[in-house]
């Protein structure tokens, strides 16, 4: 038995090293650092207990960023999921050009986020941008999408839906193909209308997929950050700033590592809570066949 054990550990070792180096150690270190003052003004970090968290509670930008992130999640997750489901149903049914339809729907996912941001930067730019030229052609005024506090979040939400929907479609497509044909045959023998079929058969059977996609979508909406670097830097006046970008700024522009760690912990806890709610709360209502 000893031999087998060693053999097993040896096989696991490479992954274990990486897991410890890049997951457990950083998480622990972050937790510890969040209780320290570690910024430019303090050459040696020193323990300050909960002070970083207290300062965070009094920080207007933090609350604004948190609120932004909730709106961002609410704006992107349900819409992109609904769109993904619609696209999957369509791509599943369509008879001609199946490959083309699927590729067309899926391709935004393949493009790196930085490139996506650049494309949409062009679309949103006042004067030259695609939307701007369309508006001009229609004889309408200009909208400074990224330079106006009221529009910038919408602009981001629309872009991210475009980017994410195709990705989620793939999961739904897989889900749809797992539903057996017999279900539909018996439904049609019972004379069920298409809407009833969808409501009573397709959708319930897709619930495991939906849960999975939802968890991914929610985490993604907190993890997305590259587009902000390219397009707005969180501006104007933090109107498009999101939690992860704020962490990045705190860590690498202000070099306040203690505060950045505290923010990271808050984000991790938030994500854990959301995932836990989704898994333990919603899981009960789902039929697995």
């Amino acid at each position: 038995m000893g031999k087998t054990n060693i053999y097993a550990w040896l096989l696991l070792l490479p992954s274990l090293i990486f897991l410890i180096l890049f997951t457990f150690y950083p998480v622990l270190k972050t937790l510890v650092l969040s209780f320290y003052q570690a910024d430019l003004g303090s050459p040696e970090p020193f323990f300050i207990g909960m002070e970083n968290y207290q300062r965070m509670m009094e920080d207007d930008v933090f609350w604004k960023v948190l609120k932004n992130n909730l709106w961002f999640a609410l704006g992107t997750v349900p819409t992109s999921m609904a769109l993904a489901l619609g696209m999957a149903l369509f791509a599943n049914k369509v008879l001609r050009g199946k490959g083309f339809v699927r590729t067309a729907f899926f391709y935004p996912t393949v493009v790196p986020m930085i490139a996506v941001a650049n494309i949409w930067l062009f679309i949103y730019t006042p004067e030259y941008g695609a939307i701007s030229q369309l508006l001009q052609w229609l004889g309408q005024g200009q909208i400074n999408w990224l330079g106006d506090q009221t529009f910038v979040m919408w602009a981001m939400v629309i872009m991210v839906i475009w980017k994410e929907a195709g990705y989620f479609m793939i999961f739904y497509l897989a889900g749809l193909q797992n539903i057996s044909e017999e279900m539909y045959e018996s439904a049609s023998m019972d004379g069920a209308k298409p809407w009833t079929v969808f409501r009573r058969v397709t959708f319930p059977l897709l619930m495991p997929t939906t849960l999975f996609v939802m968890v991914i979508a929610v985490t993604n909406s907190f993890k997305l950050v590259d587009h902000l670097v390219i397009m707005t830097k969180g501006g104007p006046d933090n109107a498009s700033n999101l939690l992860l970008y704020y962490i990045f700024e705190t860590a690498f522009s202000f070099w306040d590592q203690g505060m950045a760690s505290a923010l990271t912990i808050v984000m991790v806890v938030l994500l854990l809570l959301l995932a836990a709610f989704q898994f333990f709360g919603l899981d009960k209502k789902i039929h697995y066949n």
């Binding site: 430019l40 006042p126 330079g147 106006d148 506090q149 104007p236 700024e249 522009s253 202000f254």
Partner: protein, 445 residues
């Protein structure tokens, strides 16, 4: 078999080093390998020195190629030194990369970074004072040749920490054809704030703005010009105090807001730093406030007659200086320090400063650069090239404080919130002042 194990160990350890786990700055694989080779093949003084040189690009044009070519030429002239230029993105990206490298105890040897990072670099204990090198190599004759406006952000407490390189001021670019079209004298750009508004109103028409002042990226820099024109700089010389909330600044910010909202001669909302020069070149704005670093870009791409002028005055003319300086980093060994200094000295030679200015539009940082034949000839042919230099008489240090990142973000946010109409200028500046005071409090103990 044993050889295989050794190879594996070697590759694992170099992997670990590459992943940044190394805590000792001198123990990179190359360093370990080098002394052995050098002892075997050559006496010590001819040891080859490799330098890593980080540099940013902040204006249009093929600057990476120009910098790479300069480094190549330096390498050819100095066979014992090999400078490896590394393009590190925007100023902000460059600072981030350098800070990360310093924290990882693996700093570049020499870098161009915003002159305003001085206090941040000192707080991090990251840069070397250059006084000894200067004393040995040119002394005051060398250092006093640089324009004082450019040295302002290089020195503190009697020490010099960086050497000016790609330096700028803000200038007013204006479209002479547009001036003629609306009956303005193309040789008379606006002299003061009132004329700025008046001319902008005349120049505005469908599809063309009167003026554009960029408000993304670093709006504080643009605003600083207005603060200086209205009498006073934004911070104390020791970088421990800021003066954001003053009646003069409220007046200046009100002007920005009015240009867009009331007079409607400037686009509303935030105006992108990078698209402003395109707007100007496309004739979508008749005037623009921008760095002189874009002069060569505008010169080679404008299809119309354009002019360059001092920024319009209020109580007096004024512009902050801007741009990047050479820094040398702590924790590199002496041969690298010597080599880095040679490189800095070489890059800032009058002839080279002149050529750099001609190629880019940045102000040549030394007075003697304007005495060179090629610069004299260039200025005669293209008088606009001297405008930024002449304006230096009214130029002051760029906003630079301890904890500069946080202070300037607080200020940028406030400016953007006023420009986008979310808060009144007075309230916005008050908030920025309070936040900056809080951030600077530890340095005022």
């Amino acid at each position: 078999m044993r050889k295989m194990w050794r190879n594996m160990l070697l590759s694992v350890s170099s992997l670990a080093l590459a992943a940044g786990c190394s805590s000792a700055p001198t123990s990179s694989p190359q360093d370990q390998a080098k002394p052995v080779q050098a002892e075997a093949t050559a006496p010590k003084q001819e040891e080859k020195v490799d330098l890593t040189f980080f540099y940013p690009v902040a204006v249009g044009g093929p600057l990476t190629k120009i910098v790479d070519d300069m480094a190549e030429q330096f390498n050819q002239e100095h066979p014992n030194i090999q400078v490896k230029p590394v393009y590190t993105g925007s100023y902000q990206d460059t600072t981030t990369k350098i800070q990360a490298a310093v924290q990882g105890k693996n700093p570049p040897d020499v870098a161009v970074m915003l002159s305003t990072e001085l206090f941040t670099m000192l707080d991090m204990d990251a840069v070397l004072p250059l006084d000894d090198f200067i004393a040995k190599d040119g002394g005051s004759e060398y250092i006093n040749d640089f324009y004082p406006g450019f040295m302002a952000n290089s020195q503190t407490e009697g020490k010099t920490y960086s050497i000016p390189f790609q330096r700028s001021t803000i200038v007013l670019y204006y479209n002479k054809d547009a001036f003629r079209e609306v009956g303005l004298d193309p040789e008379k750009p606006p002299q003061n704030w009132d004329e700025l508004v008046e001319y902008s109103k005349k120049l505005k028409k469908d599809g063309r703005w009167g003026v554009e002042i960029p408000t993304s990226g670093f709006p504080y820099w643009m605003f600083q010009a207005f603060a200086l024109q209205n009498g006073k700089n934004l911070m104390s010389e020791d970088g421990k105090k800021v003066y954001f909330e003053t009646p003069e600044n409220v007046e200046a910010l009100q002007l920005w807001v009015d240009l867009a909202k009331k007079h409607q001669v400037m686009p509303e909302g935030v105006i992108e730093w990078a698209t402003v020069p395109s707007d100007f070149l496309e004739g979508k704005t008749a005037m623009m406030y921008h760095t002189t670093g874009n002069l060569t870009n505008v010169k080679s791409n404008a299809k119309f007659d354009f002019g360059v002028a001092y920024l319009p005055a209020k109580q007096n003319f004024g512009s902050p200086t801007g741009g990047g300086n050479f820094y040398m980093f702590k924790g590199i060994d002496e041969s690298k320090q010597e080599a880095s200094w040679k490189f800095i000295r070489w890059m800032t030679e009058p002839e080279r400063a002149a050529q750099w200015s001609i190629d880019t539009g940045y102000v040549a940082t030394r007075k003697s650069a304007y005495e060179t034949d090629k610069m004299k000839q260039y200025v005669t042919e293209f008088p606009a090239a001297a405008v930024a230099r002449d304006q230096l008489e009214f130029a002051h240090a760029e906003l630079s404080t301890h904890n500069n990142g946080k202070v300037s973000k607080a200020f940028n946010d406030a400016l953007q919130s006023a420009v986008t109409g979310q808060s009144e200028p007075a309230a916005a500046l008050k908030k920025a002042q309070e936040e900056a005071d809080k951030v600077l409090a530890p340095f005022n103990k």
